[in-house]
Point group: D2
Chain length 299, copies 4
């Protein structure tokens, strides 16, 4: 308390479009626990949360909570446009043993900042688990303003914040605004800025690359915390190499997801299956990805 460190957004291993791969899930979770991750975030953007049926979301929550069995906190994404569904999923997650939930703004109607405050306050009132706010403007169309975060942080059930805006000016303003409230957890999404953010005061990172190379991100987090500059710059360079070689192959906004799952399949961690509406990389991209992946050394 507060949550700190590397809390990977778990990629969802699938056998086919909508069937969970429980064998891969076990391997994946155990591998991350062995590497020393500080928590797990299921049903995030990387987990293809919004593409999955509610039935599958519940299966995943149960399975992960059972596998983790209290070794680290499990956070569950409940982002939804219908508050009742968020509340129901939270109750289910609590029963399963999750530690907290994570919610981005409703993403169909865009809300104004006062509407956001009302929305999150009422939601937090109804939730049976502590809430992390999730800023994801590229997907929700809504930037949660600094003032809105400060206001919402007064709610006893709002315990932290995950920022995936990639806007470092915004994140630094947030870190400064909460300089006297160290118990309010501030996590950063994009792994490329995890080390510099931790160095400047963030609590940790929700680093998607930890699905592939969990130890790299855990080690980088510790180097940044310890102000071990040499190690940090060496590992940061490795993180950037992964980013360049795995996430930047396709031409659409979904390249990150396709690259990540493609690489995970090449590493033997899961099938190369994405939930609709997304589709996996075809043979041409996979061939290039395989070469790229082999060229990454020392991870």
């Amino acid at each position: 308390m507060p949550l700190e460190g590397i809390v990977p957004p778990l990629a969802t291993p699938l056998l086919d479009d909508q069937t969970l791969d429980l064998v891969a899930l076990k391997k994946l979770v155990n591998r991350m626990l062995d590497a020393g991750v500080h928590g797990l975030f299921v049903l995030g953007t990387t987990g293809e949360c919004t593409s999955l049926s509610y039935e599958l979301r519940r299966q995943l929550i149960s399975a992960v909570c059972t596998l983790v069995s209290g070794q680290v906190p499990v956070l569950v994404g409940i982002t939804d446009t219908a508050p009742d569904e968020s509340v129901a999923l939270t109750d289910f997650a609590k029963q399963a043993g999750a530690a907290a939930v994570v919610a981005a703004p409703p993403y169909y109607f865009g809300l104004s900042q006062p509407e956001l405050v009302t929305y999150f306050e009422r939601l937090a009132d109804r939730l049976s688990l502590p809430l992390f706010l999730y800023n994801m403007p590229s997907h929700t169309k809504t930037m949660i303003s600094l003032d809105t975060v400060v206001q919402l942080a007064k709610h006893s059930n709002v315990v932290g914040f995950k920022d995936s805006s990639a806007n470092a000016g915004y994140l630094h303003a947030l870190i400064y605004a909460f300089r006297d409230q160290p118990e309010f957890s501030i996590f950063v999404g994009p792994e490329e800025m995890m080390a510099s953010s931790v160095l400047m005061g963030a609590h940790g990172g929700v680093s998607g690359g930890a699905n592939m190379f969990p130890r790299l991100y855990v080690d980088l987090y510790h180097a940044a915390k310890a102000n071990d500059r040499e190690t940090m710059l060496r590992l940061q360079s490795k993180v950037m190499e992964v980013s360049e070689k795995v996430y930047a192959l396709g031409t659409y906004g979904s390249s990150y997801l396709k690259g990540l799952k493609g690489a995970m399949s090449l590493l033997g961690l899961c099938q190369n299956v994405l939930a609709a509406p997304h589709t996996a990389f075809g043979p041409a991209e996979m061939e290039k990805l395989e070469l790229n992946l082999k060229s990454i050394e020392g991870v």
Copy 2:
């Protein structure tokens, strides 16, 4: 066949945040049928589709289909980020007696045009009812391009299109592209451009104002079809007056929804209750809205 005319997007009458007002629903539906609407569209943006729990969505579909009882086609919104949920809701709607379904692009991840084509083709394959595509870029972040519509219209289960972009250049290009396929229904969302669009070849309008004044929009549609310019300009002016006095009171993007439901409550059609994340207008706006509403004559 094809569908033509005024197909109002039904506002969802609520007793409280998530309880359907069945008495109001009956009154509302019958009033629109009496006015001669050509269809009904439930669970659209005006119906606060994405804010409602799935349970409530199903209740609404059943109730409306029973009330309408085949007098006009009922269209059901199935827009979702998880295809399985869209498919399940369609099966339910078919059982209830709905005629078709309507789907906008998935609205969390933004999809590219080729990804949109794949998404809608696979969805149409799985749906047990004919599909109308729904272009709503302000909410989905994704404009369905003209080429994508043309391509998707080749699918035997894709029967029409609703455009809520308000972009007249785009709509006219669409009307032109389908000039030799009159069986492909083209509907326009914003009621302010319904008459001019019908005049230029659109099949009809999904006019939200018909929840308040159904006959106005039905009459305007007929005047445009008949090229009765004098009547058309007189009724168009009335439509613009409604738009100005009812939809433009608030300061946020949700003013349309708040104004519409506020006005419906003043007209005795339903409670002034919006589903979360939205909230109804407060006393100050309602006072102004009441004055505005009283000043609209001859509707």
Copy 3:
């Protein structure tokens, strides 16, 4: 008074990147005057206004005003980020014989609506010619709100409005707001919506296609004014064919400009030269454009 009809945005004929083609200019202007255009708009978006040096802008103003010689009003684009330059260009245009100027919002810093009001009021105070406001949000990042237009129209030197937003809901609201001020000219940019807009009350169109086929747009305008539906739909179909075959060939936002100037060169009206930062279509696109152009009949 007020200005009505077709006021084409003159394409700027160039010999090379920044040298005016005066021979082509004469032919182009005379051809449009012969076709019965009601005015000419130089240095608009179609005229590549912002790409031209100030020296060349002045040459163009002089040349066009001399050629037109008072037969129709000449409007001059003065859109700039530095008000002093707008004022200086207006003084020059007045001397040359122009009738009015046209200004979009400053397009580097985005302004808020109150800032826009201040900007345009101060600018109108300083201008020696009447001002048309120009709404071009895709290029300026700033939508001029309905309230802002209404407020600015009170200024004695603000005489009209050109809307290139393509948003028909917005344009219809504007037409309605000025229903009792017929002397305030409302022009629409996108030619695809010119006829339907004129039919609903707009004063005319700034139709780029009139650089190629001036009579088509003039005839369509008159058909819409006369409510001659049959003629209107026939000519509208022709306008849409031009739009589809000339403007939609490229892959970037500049396809309109490239297609227009490419087609003009194929029609013998000017060289296929665009001012930097734009470049003309290459051989492959020009070949396709030529086939497309030949297939357009009866214009």
Copy 4:
């Protein structure tokens, strides 16, 4: 070579809307030189570049180059929509003694990435001074992609890059891409992320706050370079305090400019005059700003 350190974007001191305040300019420049800045950037966004007439731009260039007299490199903003004007201003700047020029993408028409490459390559060919690319997507609508920067950096006259996107993922990718080309200068715009960026490999910052407190930013830069974490975090906190108390007072996008110039006037550095289209803060905001400014200690 390469340029490194703090290169403040000079605010432009004005007597009235378009008259340079040469006395204030001298004081301002000397104060920054005394504080140890490593260069000066005139006619940037902070310098209200696009609001100034060309005549005034030339006056400013001459005056600053004379004042600096070779003590540090002077960089001159030449961002324009008309390449001829950029070229002419560069020639003038070279004569005046400037060291390099800085250009953002043309900001009226949005260009695609291939069009950007062509634009900058042709511009660089014509420029008589070395060119820094300037990424400013919030104002130009155009993000210069990583691939575009890498391609343009091959041009012998392109020597560096200034990133004002605030996107740390992008900036880190850029730093990584140029890891073997240390002679290519990478500067960051937003001062809130200057220290963390320098720490991760950026060459320096174009920190607007240095107009008020030059030593603060120079010291922070040196602390980050030296990996003196304690000093860095202390000064970073001060930078964030300035940011919160000076830049975040207004309600519009121009709050930064208004706050900066308001604060500079309170510090006796210049008049509180902004060039149109902007206007200075009124009394209410100035009163609040004064209190805020007084509460900042130790700068």
